[in-house]
Symmetry: C2
């Protein structure tokens, strides 16, 4: 289970995780990778980008809570960061 | 004076503006344009990206308030959106 998913068990409404980077450009690159993934999955998280930091939040608007799509997206975003 | 700048006169601490788009991909494209501009200016705003929406917030961390750099960045981001 990803860290994002672990946190979700406590928060229930949404999954949130912060990823850090050595500079703005690397963080922006990650936003693009997450964006591509979101388009592929047809499920879009909220993405907050600041210098050296990307914060991802996902939940399913239709039910205003978590569905399998959120856990799948979260796990894949974790994989992206690690790769 | 840009809309962002106008709002800043009231908020004082930071400039914030929301830009809307017809889909996620267009919003992500704008994030990249703003990112390139930020790198050019050497001044990086906080960027919040959601489906069809980009929210930009800028202030100068060093003084925890607004400087000329914020107003210039805000005006250039407005231009980007209009172009």
């Amino acid at each position: 289970m990803s860290d994002l998913a672990t946190k979700a068990c406590i928060e229930e409404h949404h999954l949130m995780k912060t990823f850090t980077f050595p500079n703005f450009r690397e963080a922006l690159k990650f936003v693009n990778q997450v964006g591509e993934l979101a388009e592929e999955q047809g499920h879009h998280p909220d993405i907050f980008l600041a210098w050296g930091k990307v914060e991802i939040t996902t939940w399913t608007h239709k039910i205003n809570g978590l569905t399998e799509s959120d856990f799948i997206l979260a796990a894949k975003i974790d994989q992206l960061y690690k790769s």
